[in-house]
Protein backbone atom coordinates (compact mmCIF):
# COMPACT_ATOMS: atom_id res chain seq x y z
CA UNK A 1 0.00 0.00 0.00
CA UNK A 2 2.99 2.27 0.24
CA UNK A 3 3.51 2.16 -3.48
CA UNK A 4 2.33 5.48 -4.76
CA UNK A 5 0.58 4.60 -7.99
CA UNK A 6 -0.44 7.57 -10.14
CA UNK A 7 -4.06 7.13 -9.01
CA UNK A 8 -3.19 7.69 -5.36
CA UNK A 9 -1.38 10.97 -5.76
CA UNK A 10 -2.97 13.43 -3.34
CA UNK A 11 -4.82 16.40 -4.71
CA UNK A 12 -2.99 19.66 -4.79
CA UNK A 13 -5.99 21.74 -5.77
CA UNK A 14 -9.74 21.22 -6.07
CA UNK A 15 -10.51 19.19 -9.16
CA UNK A 16 -14.07 20.40 -9.57
CA UNK A 17 -15.74 23.77 -9.50
CA UNK A 18 -17.96 24.26 -6.45
CA UNK A 19 -21.03 24.06 -8.66
CA UNK A 20 -20.05 20.82 -10.35
CA UNK A 21 -18.93 19.20 -7.09
CA UNK A 22 -22.21 20.22 -5.46
CA UNK A 23 -24.34 18.81 -8.27
CA UNK A 24 -22.49 15.51 -8.25
CA UNK A 25 -22.46 15.16 -4.46
CA UNK A 26 -26.15 16.04 -4.18
CA UNK A 27 -27.04 13.37 -6.71
CA UNK A 28 -24.87 10.84 -4.88
CA UNK A 29 -26.50 11.65 -1.52
CA UNK A 30 -29.92 10.97 -3.06
CA UNK A 31 -28.56 7.77 -4.55
CA UNK A 32 -27.36 6.72 -1.10
CA UNK A 33 -30.77 7.39 0.46
CA UNK A 34 -32.59 5.54 -2.32
CA UNK A 35 -30.23 2.58 -1.91
CA UNK A 36 -31.05 2.45 1.77
CA UNK A 37 -34.75 2.65 0.87
CA UNK A 38 -34.37 -0.22 -1.61
CA UNK A 39 -32.57 -2.33 0.99
CA UNK A 40 -35.43 -1.78 3.42
CA UNK A 41 -38.23 -1.89 0.87
CA UNK A 42 -40.20 -4.58 2.64
CA UNK A 43 -40.31 -2.66 5.88
CA UNK A 44 -41.06 0.55 4.02
CA UNK A 45 -44.06 -0.95 2.23
CA UNK A 46 -45.38 -2.62 5.37
CA UNK A 47 -44.99 0.61 7.34
CA UNK A 48 -46.77 2.52 4.60
CA UNK A 49 -49.66 0.11 4.27
CA UNK A 50 -50.44 -0.84 7.84
CA UNK A 51 -52.09 2.35 9.06
CA UNK A 52 -54.25 3.19 6.01
CA UNK A 53 -55.23 -0.46 5.74
CA UNK A 54 -56.42 -0.58 9.33
CA UNK A 55 -58.26 2.73 8.98
CA UNK A 56 -60.26 1.78 5.91
CA UNK A 57 -60.72 -1.76 7.15
CA UNK A 58 -62.31 -0.63 10.42
CA UNK A 59 -64.28 2.33 9.11
CA UNK A 60 -65.35 1.13 5.68
CA UNK A 61 -65.56 -2.62 6.20
CA UNK A 62 -66.09 -3.45 9.86
CA UNK A 63 -68.37 -0.55 10.80
CA UNK A 64 -70.88 -1.04 7.98
CA UNK A 65 -70.88 -4.83 8.68
CA UNK A 66 -71.69 -4.43 12.35
CA UNK A 67 -74.09 -1.58 11.77
CA UNK A 68 -72.03 0.93 13.70
CA UNK A 69 -73.45 4.35 13.03
CA UNK A 70 -71.13 6.44 10.95
CA UNK A 71 -71.53 8.96 8.18
CA UNK A 72 -74.35 10.78 9.90
CA UNK A 73 -76.27 7.57 10.50
CA UNK A 74 -78.04 7.67 7.18
CA UNK A 75 -77.31 4.10 6.21
CA UNK A 76 -75.31 3.04 3.18
CA UNK A 77 -75.63 6.41 1.48
CA UNK A 78 -74.08 8.03 4.54
CA UNK A 79 -71.37 5.36 4.58
CA UNK A 80 -70.55 6.06 0.97
CA UNK A 81 -70.28 9.80 1.55
CA UNK A 82 -68.05 9.08 4.53
CA UNK A 83 -65.93 6.73 2.43
CA UNK A 84 -65.06 9.54 0.04
CA UNK A 85 -64.17 11.79 2.97
CA UNK A 86 -62.04 9.09 4.58
CA UNK A 87 -60.19 7.95 1.46
CA UNK A 88 -58.92 11.45 0.75
CA UNK A 89 -58.04 11.86 4.42
CA UNK A 90 -56.15 8.58 4.48
CA UNK A 91 -54.09 9.46 1.41
CA UNK A 92 -53.13 12.77 3.00
CA UNK A 93 -52.35 11.14 6.33
CA UNK A 94 -50.16 8.48 4.72
CA UNK A 95 -48.03 11.06 2.94
CA UNK A 96 -47.75 12.96 6.19
CA UNK A 97 -46.65 9.90 8.14
CA UNK A 98 -44.21 8.80 5.51
CA UNK A 99 -42.66 12.22 5.21
CA UNK A 100 -42.09 12.51 8.94
CA UNK A 101 -40.89 8.95 9.38
CA UNK A 102 -38.63 8.97 6.34
CA UNK A 103 -36.70 12.00 7.54
CA UNK A 104 -37.05 12.38 11.31
CA UNK A 105 -36.39 8.78 12.35
CA UNK A 106 -33.17 8.18 10.37
CA UNK A 107 -31.89 11.58 11.44
CA UNK A 108 -32.32 10.63 15.08
CA UNK A 109 -29.90 7.75 14.47
CA UNK A 110 -27.54 9.75 12.32
CA UNK A 111 -27.23 12.56 14.83
CA UNK A 112 -26.80 10.13 17.71
CA UNK A 113 -23.64 9.51 19.67
CA UNK A 114 -21.61 8.37 16.68
CA UNK A 115 -22.66 11.23 14.37
CA UNK A 116 -22.71 8.97 11.36
CA UNK A 117 -24.14 11.82 9.28
CA UNK A 118 -20.64 13.35 9.44
CA UNK A 119 -19.29 11.65 6.34
CA UNK A 120 -22.17 13.12 4.32
CA UNK A 121 -21.71 16.53 5.90
CA UNK A 122 -18.08 16.31 4.75
CA UNK A 123 -19.11 15.59 1.17
CA UNK A 124 -18.02 18.46 -1.06
CA UNK A 125 -21.22 20.49 -1.09
CA UNK A 126 -22.79 23.17 1.11
CA UNK A 127 -24.17 21.72 4.35
CA UNK A 128 -27.65 23.15 3.69
CA UNK A 129 -27.92 20.93 0.63
CA UNK A 130 -27.25 17.81 2.69
CA UNK A 131 -30.40 18.75 4.62
CA UNK A 132 -32.32 19.52 1.43
CA UNK A 133 -31.23 16.16 0.06
CA UNK A 134 -32.77 14.48 3.11
CA UNK A 135 -36.03 16.33 2.42
CA UNK A 136 -36.02 15.34 -1.22
CA UNK A 137 -35.39 11.67 -0.42
CA UNK A 138 -38.20 11.85 2.16
CA UNK A 139 -40.52 13.46 -0.38
CA UNK A 140 -39.82 10.67 -2.87
CA UNK A 141 -40.90 8.20 -0.19
CA UNK A 142 -44.05 10.28 0.27
CA UNK A 143 -44.80 9.98 -3.44
CA UNK A 144 -44.31 6.23 -3.36
CA UNK A 145 -46.51 6.04 -0.27
CA UNK A 146 -49.29 7.91 -2.07
CA UNK A 147 -49.07 5.50 -4.99
CA UNK A 148 -49.26 2.46 -2.70
CA UNK A 149 -52.01 3.73 -0.45
CA UNK A 150 -54.38 5.01 -3.06
CA UNK A 151 -55.50 1.64 -4.45
CA UNK A 152 -55.84 0.18 -0.96
CA UNK A 153 -57.97 3.02 0.29
CA UNK A 154 -60.06 2.79 -2.83
CA UNK A 155 -60.54 -0.96 -2.92
CA UNK A 156 -61.22 -2.01 0.66
CA UNK A 157 -64.79 -1.53 1.79
CA UNK A 158 -67.90 -3.51 2.59
CA UNK A 159 -70.44 -4.49 -0.02
CA UNK A 160 -72.90 -1.72 -0.60
CA UNK A 161 -70.53 1.03 0.44
CA UNK A 162 -69.46 2.90 -2.64
CA UNK A 163 -66.31 4.95 -2.75
CA UNK A 164 -67.29 7.58 -5.27
CA UNK A 165 -64.27 9.57 -6.18
CA UNK A 166 -64.12 12.28 -8.76
CA UNK A 167 -60.51 12.97 -9.51
CA UNK A 168 -59.42 16.49 -10.36
CA UNK A 169 -56.09 15.70 -11.95
CA UNK A 170 -54.47 19.16 -11.96
CA UNK A 171 -55.08 19.38 -8.22
CA UNK A 172 -53.91 15.84 -7.55
CA UNK A 173 -50.64 16.06 -9.46
CA UNK A 174 -49.70 19.36 -7.86
CA UNK A 175 -50.81 18.46 -4.34
CA UNK A 176 -48.98 15.15 -4.05
CA UNK A 177 -45.48 16.60 -4.60
CA UNK A 178 -46.27 19.75 -2.64
CA UNK A 179 -47.51 17.86 0.40
CA UNK A 180 -44.68 15.35 0.14
CA UNK A 181 -42.10 18.12 0.33
CA UNK A 182 -44.00 19.93 3.10
CA UNK A 183 -44.27 16.85 5.28
CA UNK A 184 -40.67 15.72 4.81
CA UNK A 185 -39.59 19.28 5.64
CA UNK A 186 -41.61 18.92 8.84
CA UNK A 187 -39.71 15.65 9.35
CA UNK A 188 -36.46 17.60 9.05
CA UNK A 189 -37.66 20.08 11.67
CA UNK A 190 -38.64 17.31 14.07
CA UNK A 191 -35.52 15.25 13.39
CA UNK A 192 -33.18 18.17 14.01
CA UNK A 193 -35.00 19.83 16.90
CA UNK A 194 -35.87 16.79 18.99
CA UNK A 195 -33.06 15.13 20.92
CA UNK A 196 -32.43 11.65 19.49
CA UNK A 197 -33.28 9.98 22.80
CA UNK A 198 -36.66 11.75 22.88
CA UNK A 199 -37.64 10.82 19.34
CA UNK A 200 -40.10 8.21 20.61
CA UNK A 201 -42.11 10.93 22.32
CA UNK A 202 -42.57 12.63 18.97
CA UNK A 203 -45.34 10.20 18.13
CA UNK A 204 -47.30 10.74 21.30
CA UNK A 205 -47.05 14.49 21.50
CA UNK A 206 -46.81 15.62 17.89
CA UNK A 207 -47.82 12.98 15.38
CA UNK A 208 -50.90 11.79 17.26
CA UNK A 209 -52.51 15.25 17.74
CA UNK A 210 -51.67 16.10 14.14
CA UNK A 211 -53.40 12.92 13.01
CA UNK A 212 -56.57 13.19 15.06
CA UNK A 213 -57.02 16.90 14.58
CA UNK A 214 -55.96 16.91 10.95
CA UNK A 215 -59.28 16.28 9.25
CA UNK A 216 -58.58 12.68 8.35
CA UNK A 217 -61.98 11.49 9.50
CA UNK A 218 -64.06 14.62 8.90
CA UNK A 219 -64.08 17.56 6.52
CA UNK A 220 -62.83 20.80 7.99
CA UNK A 221 -66.01 22.62 6.88
CA UNK A 222 -68.17 20.47 9.18
CA UNK A 223 -66.23 21.62 12.26
CA UNK A 224 -68.11 24.92 11.97
CA UNK A 225 -70.87 23.23 13.96
CA UNK A 226 -68.70 23.08 17.12
CA UNK A 227 -69.09 26.46 18.76
CA UNK A 228 -68.67 28.29 22.01
CA UNK A 229 -70.61 31.53 22.18
CA UNK A 230 -71.09 31.44 18.42
CA UNK A 231 -67.36 31.00 17.73
CA UNK A 232 -66.28 27.85 15.86
CA UNK A 233 -63.28 27.33 18.07
CA UNK A 234 -62.23 23.89 16.92
CA UNK A 235 -62.38 24.91 13.27
CA UNK A 236 -60.15 27.88 14.09
CA UNK A 237 -57.78 25.87 16.29
CA UNK A 238 -56.99 23.15 13.77
CA UNK A 239 -55.84 25.80 11.30
CA UNK A 240 -52.39 25.59 12.94
CA UNK A 241 -52.25 21.94 11.93
CA UNK A 242 -50.52 21.52 8.58
CA UNK A 243 -52.31 18.21 7.98
CA UNK A 244 -55.70 19.95 7.70
CA UNK A 245 -54.58 21.66 4.49
CA UNK A 246 -53.30 18.35 3.14
CA UNK A 247 -56.50 16.43 3.81
CA UNK A 248 -58.69 19.29 2.61
CA UNK A 249 -56.55 19.54 -0.50
CA UNK A 250 -57.06 15.86 -1.27
CA UNK A 251 -60.75 16.25 -0.57
CA UNK A 252 -60.81 18.95 -3.23
CA UNK A 253 -58.73 16.76 -5.56
CA UNK A 254 -60.65 13.51 -5.09
CA UNK A 255 -64.25 14.29 -4.14
CA UNK A 256 -67.10 16.65 -4.78
CA UNK A 257 -67.51 17.31 -1.04
CA UNK A 258 -67.33 20.81 0.39
CA UNK A 259 -63.74 21.80 1.21
CA UNK A 260 -61.60 24.65 2.35
CA UNK A 261 -61.07 27.14 -0.48
CA UNK A 262 -58.14 26.33 -2.76
CA UNK A 263 -56.87 29.90 -2.56
CA UNK A 264 -56.23 29.17 1.11
CA UNK A 265 -54.87 25.63 0.75
CA UNK A 266 -52.13 26.27 -1.79
CA UNK A 267 -50.56 29.41 -0.29
CA UNK A 268 -50.64 27.93 3.20
CA UNK A 269 -49.02 24.67 2.02
CA UNK A 270 -46.32 26.62 0.21
CA UNK A 271 -45.88 28.78 3.33
CA UNK A 272 -45.51 25.71 5.56
CA UNK A 273 -42.98 24.30 3.08
CA UNK A 274 -40.87 27.43 3.28
CA UNK A 275 -41.18 27.71 7.06
CA UNK A 276 -40.33 24.07 7.75
CA UNK A 277 -37.44 24.05 5.28
CA UNK A 278 -36.01 27.17 6.88
CA UNK A 279 -36.41 25.86 10.43
CA UNK A 280 -35.16 22.43 9.42
CA UNK A 281 -32.04 23.64 7.63
CA UNK A 282 -31.23 25.92 10.55
CA UNK A 283 -31.73 23.03 12.94
CA UNK A 284 -29.51 20.87 10.76
CA UNK A 285 -26.76 23.50 10.83
CA UNK A 286 -27.00 23.64 14.59
CA UNK A 287 -26.68 19.87 14.83
CA UNK A 288 -23.70 19.32 12.59
CA UNK A 289 -21.72 22.55 12.97
CA UNK A 290 -20.55 24.29 16.10
Amino acid sequence: MATASPSSVPLTRPIRSPGAATRIAFGALLLRDLTVLRKNLGIFVARTIIQPFLLVFVFLFVFPKIGQGIGGGSGLAGESAFAAVLVSGVVGLSIMFQGIQAVALPLANEFGYTKEIEDRVLAPLPVALVAVGKVLAGAIQGLIAAAIVFPIAYAIHAKGVEVQLSVHWPLLITLIPLTSIMTSSLGLVLGTRIQPRNIGMMFGFIVLPITFLGGTYYPWTTLAAIKVGGFPWLQALVCVNPLIYVTEGFRAALTTEAHMPLYVIYPVLVGFCALFLWLGVRGFYRRVLS
Binding site: M1, A2, T3, A4, S7, S8, V9, P10, L11, T12, R13, P14, I15, R16, P18, A20, A21, T22, I24, A25, A28, L29, L31, R32, T35, V36, K39, P106, N109, Y113, T114, K115, E116, I117, E118, D119, R120, V121, L122, A123, P124, L125, P126, V127, V288, L289, S290
Partner: protein, 327 residues
Amino acid sequence: MFTHTHGSESNTADEVIRCEKLTKRYTDGNILAVNQLDLSVYHGEIFGLLGPNGAGKTTTVGMLTTLVIPTGGKAVVAGVDVVAQPALVKQMIGVVAQTNNLDRALNVWENLYYHGRFFGMSAREARAAADESLVRFRLAERAKADVMAISGGMAKRLMVARALLHHPSVLFLDEPTAGLDPQARIALWEILDKLHAGGQTILLTTHYMEEADSLCDRLAIMDHGHLLAMDTPKNLKESVGADSIVTVSATGDLDALARLLQERVEGATKSRRLDSTVQLHVKGTTGVLPKVVTAAEQGGYSITDLSIAEPTLETVFISLTGKELRE
Protein backbone atom coordinates in the same frame (compact mmCIF):
# COMPACT_ATOMS: atom_id res chain seq x y z
CA MET B 1 9.88 0.41 15.35
CA PHE B 2 9.77 3.41 13.05
CA THR B 3 12.60 5.40 11.69
CA HIS B 4 11.89 8.96 10.78
CA THR B 5 14.20 11.76 9.95
CA HIS B 6 13.10 14.42 12.33
CA GLY B 7 14.78 17.05 10.26
CA SER B 8 13.78 20.50 9.23
CA GLU B 9 13.97 19.75 5.51
CA SER B 10 10.21 20.08 5.22
CA ASN B 11 10.24 23.68 6.36
CA THR B 12 10.98 24.89 2.91
CA ALA B 13 8.36 22.72 1.26
CA ASP B 14 4.76 23.69 0.51
CA GLU B 15 2.50 24.70 3.30
CA VAL B 16 -0.59 22.49 3.31
CA ILE B 17 -2.19 23.95 6.44
CA ARG B 18 -1.76 27.42 7.82
CA CYS B 19 -3.52 28.85 10.89
CA GLU B 20 -3.17 32.49 11.85
CA LYS B 21 -4.47 33.45 15.26
CA LEU B 22 -7.13 30.80 14.84
CA THR B 23 -9.61 31.13 17.71
CA LYS B 24 -12.77 29.39 18.84
CA ARG B 25 -14.87 30.67 21.68
CA TYR B 26 -17.99 28.63 22.38
CA THR B 27 -20.86 30.91 23.33
CA ASP B 28 -22.29 28.00 25.26
CA GLY B 29 -20.49 28.37 28.58
CA ASN B 30 -18.20 31.06 27.15
CA ILE B 31 -15.34 28.59 26.79
CA LEU B 32 -12.24 29.66 24.93
CA ALA B 33 -11.43 26.31 23.35
CA VAL B 34 -8.66 27.48 21.02
CA ASN B 35 -6.84 30.75 21.55
CA GLN B 36 -4.90 32.52 18.78
CA LEU B 37 -3.35 29.42 17.31
CA ASP B 38 -0.55 29.92 14.78
CA LEU B 39 0.38 26.73 12.99
CA SER B 40 1.90 25.52 9.75
CA VAL B 41 1.89 21.97 8.41
CA TYR B 42 4.02 21.17 5.39
CA HIS B 43 3.57 18.82 2.50
CA GLY B 44 4.44 15.22 3.30
CA GLU B 45 4.83 15.48 7.05
CA ILE B 46 3.01 13.78 9.88
CA PHE B 47 2.12 16.55 12.24
CA GLY B 48 0.82 15.83 15.72
CA LEU B 49 -1.32 17.92 18.03
CA LEU B 50 -0.42 16.66 21.48
CA GLY B 51 -2.17 17.57 24.69
CA PRO B 52 -4.54 16.37 27.39
CA ASN B 53 -8.32 16.21 27.01
CA GLY B 54 -9.72 19.71 26.74
CA ALA B 55 -6.52 21.12 25.23
CA GLY B 56 -8.39 22.23 22.10
CA LYS B 57 -7.03 19.57 19.73
CA THR B 58 -10.38 18.29 18.52
CA THR B 59 -11.74 21.82 18.18
CA THR B 60 -8.71 22.71 16.05
CA VAL B 61 -9.27 19.73 13.78
CA GLY B 62 -12.97 20.66 13.68
CA MET B 63 -12.12 24.13 12.43
CA LEU B 64 -9.68 22.84 9.83
CA THR B 65 -12.29 20.37 8.56
CA THR B 66 -15.15 22.94 8.35
CA LEU B 67 -17.27 21.36 11.11
CA VAL B 68 -16.44 24.00 13.71
CA ILE B 69 -16.79 27.66 12.73
CA PRO B 70 -13.88 29.77 14.03
CA THR B 71 -14.74 32.90 15.99
CA GLY B 72 -11.46 34.58 15.09
CA GLY B 73 -8.35 34.28 12.96
CA LYS B 74 -7.87 32.45 9.75
CA ALA B 75 -7.18 28.95 8.50
CA VAL B 76 -6.12 27.91 5.03
CA VAL B 77 -6.08 24.25 4.02
CA ALA B 78 -4.58 23.24 0.67
CA GLY B 79 -4.73 26.85 -0.38
CA VAL B 80 -8.44 27.26 0.39
CA ASP B 81 -9.87 29.41 3.19
CA VAL B 82 -11.95 27.11 5.42
CA VAL B 83 -14.43 29.80 6.46
CA ALA B 84 -14.92 31.42 3.07
CA GLN B 85 -15.14 28.23 1.00
CA PRO B 86 -15.95 25.24 3.21
CA ALA B 87 -17.46 23.20 0.38
CA LEU B 88 -14.27 23.60 -1.63
CA VAL B 89 -12.07 22.63 1.32
CA LYS B 90 -14.07 19.43 1.67
CA GLN B 91 -12.84 18.32 -1.77
CA MET B 92 -9.30 18.49 -0.44
CA ILE B 93 -9.45 16.75 2.93
CA GLY B 94 -10.03 13.32 4.37
CA VAL B 95 -11.26 13.05 7.94
CA VAL B 96 -11.16 10.16 10.40
CA ALA B 97 -13.26 11.06 13.43
CA GLN B 98 -12.60 9.81 16.93
CA THR B 99 -15.88 7.90 17.14
CA ASN B 100 -17.05 5.24 14.72
CA ASN B 101 -19.13 7.33 12.32
CA LEU B 102 -19.48 4.70 9.60
CA ASP B 103 -22.83 4.71 7.81
CA ARG B 104 -24.74 1.97 9.59
CA ALA B 105 -27.40 1.76 6.90
CA LEU B 106 -24.72 0.56 4.48
CA ASN B 107 -22.33 -2.40 4.53
CA VAL B 108 -18.52 -2.20 4.55
CA TRP B 109 -18.12 -2.05 0.77
CA GLU B 110 -21.00 0.39 0.32
CA ASN B 111 -19.48 2.79 2.83
CA LEU B 112 -16.53 3.14 0.46
CA TYR B 113 -18.54 3.06 -2.75
CA TYR B 114 -20.93 5.87 -1.80
CA HIS B 115 -18.12 7.95 -0.36
CA GLY B 116 -16.47 7.71 -3.79
CA ARG B 117 -19.72 8.77 -5.43
CA PHE B 118 -20.03 11.78 -3.10
CA PHE B 119 -16.64 12.89 -4.37
CA GLY B 120 -17.53 12.63 -8.02
CA MET B 121 -16.39 9.15 -9.01
CA SER B 122 -18.45 7.39 -11.65
CA ALA B 123 -20.12 4.12 -10.65
CA ARG B 124 -17.32 2.17 -12.32
CA GLU B 125 -14.55 4.24 -10.73
CA ALA B 126 -16.14 4.05 -7.28
CA ARG B 127 -16.57 0.30 -7.58
CA ALA B 128 -12.94 -0.15 -8.58
CA ALA B 129 -11.71 2.21 -5.86
CA ALA B 130 -13.79 0.45 -3.18
CA ASP B 131 -12.56 -2.99 -4.27
CA GLU B 132 -8.95 -1.90 -4.35
CA SER B 133 -9.21 -0.10 -1.03
CA LEU B 134 -10.70 -3.13 0.72
CA VAL B 135 -7.75 -5.25 -0.40
CA ARG B 136 -5.27 -2.57 0.56
CA PHE B 137 -6.67 -2.25 4.07
CA ARG B 138 -7.19 -6.00 4.53
CA LEU B 139 -10.97 -5.73 4.70
CA ALA B 140 -11.87 -7.62 1.52
CA GLU B 141 -13.22 -10.64 3.39
CA ARG B 142 -15.67 -8.46 5.25
CA ALA B 143 -16.88 -6.52 2.19
CA LYS B 144 -20.52 -7.46 2.69
CA ALA B 145 -20.46 -7.27 6.48
CA ASP B 146 -22.59 -4.93 8.52
CA VAL B 147 -20.34 -2.13 9.78
CA MET B 148 -21.53 -2.77 13.33
CA ALA B 149 -20.38 -6.37 13.12
CA ILE B 150 -16.68 -5.67 12.50
CA SER B 151 -14.05 -5.16 15.19
CA GLY B 152 -12.97 -1.74 16.44
CA GLY B 153 -9.64 -2.04 14.66
CA MET B 154 -11.33 -2.96 11.38
CA ALA B 155 -13.80 -0.12 11.74
CA LYS B 156 -10.93 2.31 12.20
CA ARG B 157 -9.15 0.89 9.14
CA LEU B 158 -12.35 1.26 7.15
CA MET B 159 -12.67 4.87 8.27
CA VAL B 160 -9.09 5.53 7.18
CA ALA B 161 -9.76 3.78 3.86
CA ARG B 162 -12.89 5.88 3.36
CA ALA B 163 -11.11 9.12 4.20
CA LEU B 164 -8.36 8.33 1.68
CA LEU B 165 -10.60 7.14 -1.13
CA HIS B 166 -10.76 10.52 -2.85
CA HIS B 167 -6.99 11.13 -2.49
CA PRO B 168 -7.17 14.09 -0.11
CA SER B 169 -4.21 16.44 0.05
CA VAL B 170 -4.28 16.16 3.82
CA LEU B 171 -5.60 13.40 6.06
CA PHE B 172 -6.95 14.37 9.50
CA LEU B 173 -7.14 11.80 12.27
CA ASP B 174 -8.62 12.69 15.64
CA GLU B 175 -7.24 10.43 18.37
CA PRO B 176 -6.83 7.60 15.86
CA THR B 177 -5.74 4.93 18.34
CA ALA B 178 -7.92 5.85 21.32
CA GLY B 179 -9.91 2.83 22.41
CA LEU B 180 -8.02 0.39 20.18
CA ASP B 181 -6.41 -2.72 21.60
CA PRO B 182 -2.58 -2.79 21.42
CA GLN B 183 -2.45 -4.94 18.28
CA ALA B 184 -4.90 -2.77 16.41
CA ARG B 185 -2.98 0.28 17.54
CA ILE B 186 0.29 -1.07 16.12
CA ALA B 187 -1.48 -2.06 12.89
CA LEU B 188 -2.77 1.50 12.52
CA TRP B 189 0.66 2.94 13.21
CA GLU B 190 2.06 0.78 10.43
CA ILE B 191 -0.63 2.02 8.07
CA LEU B 192 0.12 5.64 8.90
CA ASP B 193 3.83 5.01 8.52
CA LYS B 194 3.32 3.58 5.04
CA LEU B 195 1.08 6.47 4.07
CA HIS B 196 3.76 8.82 5.28
CA ALA B 197 6.35 7.00 3.18
CA GLY B 198 4.05 7.47 0.20
CA GLY B 199 4.06 11.23 0.72
CA GLN B 200 0.64 11.66 2.34
CA THR B 201 0.37 14.75 4.53
CA ILE B 202 -1.19 13.80 7.86
CA LEU B 203 -2.40 15.79 10.83
CA LEU B 204 -3.35 13.79 13.88
CA THR B 205 -4.28 14.53 17.45
CA THR B 206 -3.22 12.35 20.32
CA HIS B 207 -2.73 12.34 24.03
CA TYR B 208 -0.38 9.34 23.87
CA MET B 209 3.22 10.51 24.28
CA GLU B 210 4.66 7.36 22.77
CA GLU B 211 2.48 7.71 19.69
CA ALA B 212 3.42 11.34 19.20
CA ASP B 213 7.11 10.56 19.67
CA SER B 214 7.41 7.59 17.34
CA LEU B 215 5.00 8.70 14.62
CA CYS B 216 5.23 12.44 14.15
CA ASP B 217 7.76 14.53 12.25
CA ARG B 218 6.72 17.61 14.17
CA LEU B 219 4.49 18.25 17.12
CA ALA B 220 2.46 21.08 18.55
CA ILE B 221 1.95 20.75 22.28
CA MET B 222 -1.34 22.30 23.38
CA ASP B 223 -2.99 22.94 26.72
CA HIS B 224 -6.13 24.93 27.54
CA GLY B 225 -6.44 26.14 23.96
CA HIS B 226 -2.92 27.51 23.80
CA LEU B 227 0.00 26.40 21.70
CA LEU B 228 2.86 25.83 24.14
CA ALA B 229 5.60 24.55 21.84
CA MET B 230 6.06 23.38 18.29
CA ASP B 231 9.06 21.41 17.04
CA THR B 232 10.36 17.96 16.21
CA PRO B 233 10.07 15.44 19.06
CA LYS B 234 13.87 15.33 19.28
CA ASN B 235 14.26 19.09 19.62
CA LEU B 236 11.43 19.26 22.12
CA LYS B 237 13.12 16.67 24.32
CA GLU B 238 16.46 18.42 24.03
CA SER B 239 14.85 21.70 24.97
CA VAL B 240 14.39 20.32 28.48
CA GLY B 241 18.17 20.83 28.97
CA ALA B 242 18.85 17.66 30.91
CA ASP B 243 20.31 14.26 30.18
CA SER B 244 18.31 12.42 32.74
CA ILE B 245 15.21 12.82 34.81
CA VAL B 246 15.20 11.42 38.34
CA THR B 247 11.90 10.76 40.00
CA VAL B 248 11.92 10.42 43.79
CA SER B 249 9.15 9.22 46.08
CA ALA B 250 9.73 10.00 49.73
CA THR B 251 7.99 10.80 52.98
CA GLY B 252 7.95 14.29 54.46
CA ASP B 253 7.87 17.79 52.97
CA LEU B 254 8.34 17.20 49.25
CA ASP B 255 8.61 20.89 48.36
CA ALA B 256 11.55 21.19 50.72
CA LEU B 257 13.03 18.00 49.33
CA ALA B 258 12.82 19.44 45.82
CA ARG B 259 14.78 22.52 46.91
CA LEU B 260 17.27 20.41 48.82
CA LEU B 261 18.02 18.09 45.90
CA GLN B 262 18.53 20.94 43.48
CA GLU B 263 21.07 22.51 45.86
CA ARG B 264 22.94 19.37 46.85
CA VAL B 265 22.98 17.15 43.77
CA GLU B 266 25.78 18.00 41.42
CA GLY B 267 24.57 18.72 37.87
CA ALA B 268 20.93 19.33 38.88
CA THR B 269 19.40 21.94 36.60
CA LYS B 270 15.84 21.99 37.83
CA SER B 271 13.60 20.31 40.35
CA ARG B 272 9.88 20.20 40.67
CA ARG B 273 7.39 18.74 43.09
CA LEU B 274 4.62 16.79 41.36
CA ASP B 275 1.62 15.28 43.12
CA SER B 276 3.41 12.67 45.22
CA THR B 277 6.91 12.72 43.78
CA VAL B 278 9.80 15.04 43.20
CA GLN B 279 11.30 15.31 39.75
CA LEU B 280 14.91 16.33 39.28
CA HIS B 281 16.54 17.29 35.95
CA VAL B 282 20.23 16.42 35.84
CA LYS B 283 23.04 17.08 33.38
CA GLY B 284 25.39 14.11 33.16
CA THR B 285 24.31 10.64 34.20
CA THR B 286 27.22 9.06 36.08
CA GLY B 287 26.60 8.34 39.74
CA VAL B 288 23.46 10.41 39.93
CA LEU B 289 21.34 8.03 41.97
CA PRO B 290 23.79 7.59 44.89
CA LYS B 291 24.13 11.38 45.07
CA VAL B 292 20.35 11.74 45.27
CA VAL B 293 20.05 9.08 47.97
CA THR B 294 22.85 10.61 50.03
CA ALA B 295 21.45 14.13 49.76
CA ALA B 296 17.94 13.00 50.71
CA GLU B 297 19.10 10.93 53.68
CA GLN B 298 21.29 13.72 54.97
CA GLY B 299 18.22 15.92 54.86
CA GLY B 300 16.34 13.40 56.98
CA TYR B 301 14.12 12.00 54.23
CA SER B 302 13.41 8.35 53.71
CA ILE B 303 13.19 7.45 50.04
CA THR B 304 10.45 4.94 49.12
CA ASP B 305 11.03 4.82 45.38
CA LEU B 306 13.58 6.10 42.93
CA SER B 307 13.88 5.97 39.15
CA ILE B 308 15.94 7.52 36.39
CA ALA B 309 15.04 7.99 32.72
CA GLU B 310 15.86 10.01 29.66
CA PRO B 311 13.67 13.04 29.00
CA THR B 312 10.41 12.13 27.25
CA LEU B 313 7.65 14.22 25.78
CA GLU B 314 6.00 13.77 29.15
CA THR B 315 8.95 15.63 30.68
CA VAL B 316 8.54 18.33 28.06
CA PHE B 317 4.87 18.67 28.90
CA ILE B 318 5.62 18.85 32.63
CA SER B 319 8.30 21.47 32.00
CA LEU B 320 5.83 23.54 30.00
CA THR B 321 2.77 23.22 32.22
CA GLY B 322 3.98 22.09 35.63
CA LYS B 323 1.57 19.17 35.51
CA GLU B 324 1.54 15.64 34.23
CA LEU B 325 -0.18 14.60 31.03
CA ARG B 326 -2.17 11.65 32.20
CA GLU B 327 -3.85 9.24 29.84
